[in-house]
């Protein structure tokens, strides 16, 4: 992950982003004390540019731009291993879903899936369970 500097003060521009993530996910972001257990057990961690515990930290700090640019938010498949193991009971998958939602439900509807770009034979090979779930998670 690239190094980034963030100056934190009371009038931080990311405050409204923090509030919307907490509202959509129903989670208290500040409950996280960065033990890293979510990232340790994450089956997708090897394919992530920002680890789940880092996503929570960035969400606490209102780093909207950096989170929206992270491939990890689309890599998470909501397998819920992190939720099951978090010692503070934080639903990390819900937080990541809410970051996705802030992209999918904005005016630009920033989908992460171009299903029609797949060749027709690749599409027809897929079972409905795969296409429907991918569309529900990755597209608006």
């Amino acid at each position: 992950m690239n190094t980034s500097t963030l100056r934190i003060n009371q009038s931080h521009a990311g405050k409204s982003f923090v509030a919307s993530i907490e509202k959509i996910s129903g989670q208290n972001l500040l409950a996280c004390y960065q033990c890293g257990k979510c990232s340790a057990g994450c089956p997708m961690a090897a394919h992530m540019d920002v680890l789940p515990n880092q996503i929570i930290r960035m969400a606490q700090l209102g780093m909207q731009k950096q989170l929206h640019a992270a491939g990890s938010i689309w890599m998470c498949v909501s397998c819920l291993t992190c939720n099951a193991r978090c010692p503070k009971g934080i639903k990390i998958a819900e937080v990541i879903e809410s970051v996705r939602i802030t992209m999918l439900r904005n005016n630009r509807r920033e989908d992460n899936l171009g299903i029609m770009k797949l060749p027709p034979d690749a599409r027809s090979e897929l079972p409905p369970i795969a296409t429907i779930s991918a569309l529900r998670k990755l597209a608006s």
Binding site: S98, L126, P127, A130, S133
Partner: protein, 292 residues
């Protein structure tokens, strides 16, 4: 005994081997499964934001159909359908406002949903209503010597509210497999995610997951892997060619639905097994164990 049965979309398409083996093996257990009339797609994934009531409409419409069939419970074998239906049900039972909104949306239906339907997974039905001891009595072809790795994935065991067994070390499928005369094999990746819908746009991720999951079963000298989810089945079976490109040392291994193993042990014929729909042919391993 009659039981309302919800197959789900994929069991009527790519995974019809799961469908026919369920119906046939339940008949051997003297349970008549009655396919739910006018069932619709469950939605496949549970929306994790509680504000999303719209995604609960599809699963809850099925509850209305169950009530129309004058039943108070229904069974599904698909782990993904089970998880989505069960979570939506738990959610609306706890949130009267969400249930009211859904009922308003379904105002043309003759019956209102009041949280009075229960969702059952086939595995819990077999364990709790039939009992593995009783099930063992119906075995005509014991799967002696067959080493089976039981893969649960995510949806049968997480979150805790829907799990009908331990989240980290479930044993229900192992107990079933033992009742069928086979030998369950413990392996490290039985509750590790297969990568799910990334099979659509990131097959390289699935190749990695399939390599790890199937590889861990291979290390424990399993003959085959059994699953309860058509998406896991697709990834672990049909993506083995990708896994082989990813890791040249990858060893092919068949992936079956647990119901196919039941149908085999109950002596059902090929029309109930439909091994022709498998990507990796299970017949060589079954022949080697004297089971085909």
């Amino acid at each position: 005994m009659k039981l309302v049965y919800y197959p789900g979309c994929t069991l009527k398409n790519h995974a019809s081997n799961f469908d026919v083996s369920t119906v046939s093996s339940m008949a051997k257990l003297d349970v008549e499964v009655e396919e739910l009339d006018r069932w619709n797609c469950c939605g496949t994934v549970h929306a994790l934001d509680s504000g999303n009531v719209m995604n609960r409409v599809a699963p809850i419409t099925n509850m209305v159909r169950v009530k129309e069939a004058q039943a108070s419970e229904f069974m599904t074998g698909c782990a993904m359908c089970y998880n989505t239906l069960k979570r939506a049900n738990i959610d609306v039972k706890a949130r009267a406002d969400a249930l009211d909104t859904i009922n308003d949306f379904l105002s043309l239906e003759k019956i209102k949903y009041e949280g009075d339907v229960e969702v059952l997974h086939l595995l819990e039905y077999l364990r709790d209503r039939i009992g593995f001891d009783n099930l063992a009595k119906k075995v005509t072809r014991p799967l002696k010597g067959l080493r089976v790795a039981c893969y649960y994935g995510c949806l049968l065991v997480r979150p805790k509210e829907v799990a009908f067994d331990d989240s980290e070390n479930p044993m229900i499928m192992e107990n079933l497999v033992r009742a069928l005369g086979a030998t369950p094999v413990d392996f490290s990746h039985k509750t590790e995610c297969c990568g799910a819908y990334h099979t659509v746009d990131k097959p390289e991720v699935i190749a990695d997951r399939t390599d790890r999951i199937m590889g861990s079963a291979w290390e424990e000298k399993a003959d085959l892997v059994v699953v309860s989810c058509p998406l896991c089945a697709f990834n672990l079976d049909f993506r083995q060619d990708d896994a082989k490109r990813f890791n040249s040392g990858f060893q092919n291994m068949p992936v079956l639905y647990f119901t196919q193993l039941m149908a085999l042990a109950f002596g059902c014929d090929e029309s109930a097994l439909r091994f022709d729909l498998q990507h990796i042919d299970p017949l060589p391993v079954l022949k080697a164990r004297g089971l085909s």
